[in-house]
Symmetry: C2
Subunit: 334 residues, 2 copies
């Protein structure tokens, strides 16, 4: 490793400073020495973009706050942008600007990425930069990286998974604690799993967006969104859960997408009842699971925490570490 590359300082910005954005900030600080040792790079968080710059959420960050993407991109030597904003806009416009400014981007924004991901990746390719999006799907479970690697040699034919931690948490508590849907939802909100407006989680829309991201990766395209049946968990009653439990069965909220032999892609999202032999049977609480069927390897399943500050932020920093490794022409192996 050349010393000049080795000890370069890389400037980063964080867009959005909620749970995930703060998690990134904490991990980058905690891991500063180690990232320097492992990747030979000094990392500096140079700007944090928020809507309200008068509110310092983490002590010592007030001087980094801005509400202007132009301000962020005017930082001399800015090279990577972490984005943890909700919704398509202004996130997409910000990342487009960043990519055109030759910045690598790492995003956790599934709503934006499901719709604009292929476009953003194409733009990044044209600009010679990378897009990390591991955090958009299944939280801390490295499904994107694993699938990219598998796709180097295998074809993926079918993907099935529990992709929404909040729904799985609610279904788990209805079964294990005998709570009603409303009680379980309330507790999920208390614990910070569900948003104040839980619509996206419980309607299946969140799982649907993640499934579309996986479809784009596995098959290079998505089914027509209007053709996909999306059913949430909000119609499941305590009685139904009780009845399933008495029969040794469990409700799971499952998203699946498949490419048929004629090339057509079909997808659906909805509740499913599984028995104890099913791989999704023991996946409780906020855990996510993704199963992919491939031609050479066979069936591969990944299970891990589907939400949370540190799992999500961690995979974003891993995306960053991977990008840095690629740019230097090496990845540190241990």
């Amino acid at each position: 490793m050349e010393a000049s590359i080795g000890m370069a300082t890389i400037k980063a910005a964080i867009l959005g400073f909620g749970t995930v954005g703060q998690g990134i900030y904490h991990i980058l600080n905690e891991k500063r020495d180690e990232l320097r040792d492992k990747l030979g790079i000094e990392l500096e968080v140079a700007k944090i973009l928020v809507r309200d710059t008068t509110r310092e959420r983490v002590p010592g960050t007030a001087h980094l706050l801005t509400d202007s993407i132009d301000d962020v991109l005017s930082v001399k030597g800015i090279q990577v942008v972490f984005e943890a904003i909700v919704n398509e806009e202004p996130a997409y416009s910000y990342l487009k600007k960043a990519v055109e400014h030759k910045c690598h981007v790492v995003t956790a924004n599934k709503v934006m990425f499901a719709k604009r991901g292929l476009e953003l990746q194409e733009l990044a390719k044209q600009n010679g930069v990378f897009v990390g999006y591991e955090a958009t799907t299944a939280g801390g479970v490295p499904v994107i990286k694993t699938m990219k690697n598998i796709l180097l040699v295998n074809d993926v034919t079918r993907i099935q998974g529990i992709l929404n931690g909040t729904s799985n948490y609610i279904l788990t508590k209805m079964r294990a604690e005998g709570w009603t849907f409303d009680e379980a939802l309330q507790e999920a909100q208390n614990l910070g799993y569900a948003e104040a407006d839980p619509y996206n989680d419980i309607s299946g829309q969140d799982a649907f967006k993640k499934l579309m991201i996986l479809s784009a990766l596995a098959f290079g395209e998505q089914p027509d969104w209007a053709d996909v049946e999306v059913i949430g968990i909000d119609g499941i009653t305590s009685e139904q859960v009780k009845e399933a439990t008495e029969q040794g069965l469990r409700y799971r909220h499952v998203a699946e997408v498949e490419r048929l032999s004629d090339g057509k892609i079909i997808a659906k999202v909805g509740p499913m009842v599984v028995d104890k032999e099913h791989p999704l049977y023991p996946i409780d609480d906020v855990f996510n699971a993704v199963t992919m069927e491939t031609n050479y390897i066979g069936t591969l399943t990944l299970v891990g925490p589907g939400a949370g500050m540190y799992p999500t932020a961690s995979v974003m920093v891993e995306d960053y570490a991977e990008i840095i490794g690629k740019r230097a022409g090496f990845v540190v192996t241990i």
Copy 2:
């Protein structure tokens, strides 16, 4: 991508032409066009090293056979060596020579790698080449790659897994079919899962070797081998399996390694009885599963086929694709 790099021909050799070696050959042939399109590289299998060069195992390969490693390394422009031999020697000596010849190596040899892996990796580093060893552990399950990536940001504190497909197959059949140990072993041998001499599988030694490879990766070191209790499945009776089943429990053969807060590494390998809430409960047949506990992400589990020609060969070709991507300073993202 530069055209000159883009269309280079890379010459490869395969050492050992049993199940896995043949799997590599088939995949490289089947994927030739795709690997060229995705990685911009033309791949040629230039030599196949076997003990008996008079026996052509795959039609059209007779002219490639040799029993001399010097013959392999004398091929002009040889760049990568796939190794699928059993036992430490002559495999280690061959790979040492290959690495000193500036060849990348990709190995499936767990016995060799458990003992000499750290040494081989150090030698590779000195020679500026890479060692791929995904196939040494858990067959088609990409546990090495996933852990390497996680370790860029996380610490791993504990690893637990089903690492021997044959043992898991035998335990599954004793429970589900009511077979005796001997009947299940016989069928595992008929299906090609177990070797003619099944000692390594059923004694726990195979799982132990894989566990030591994971320990070296996660912690940079292994416990003293003499301190690790290794118990196989050969002492489990039909009666014990029946009794467990009646109680809703299942036997699993589990390998685990942990780093304590004082830095000491402890490991053990042996049978375990698990209930239906345990993540290893539904892992039947030749499937492997590996659970890793990390500080930021939490607990991550990978499940997939632990043996077989194509799963194992596939991850070796993925190792190769990854190495090629690194050497060219990029990895193709999809």
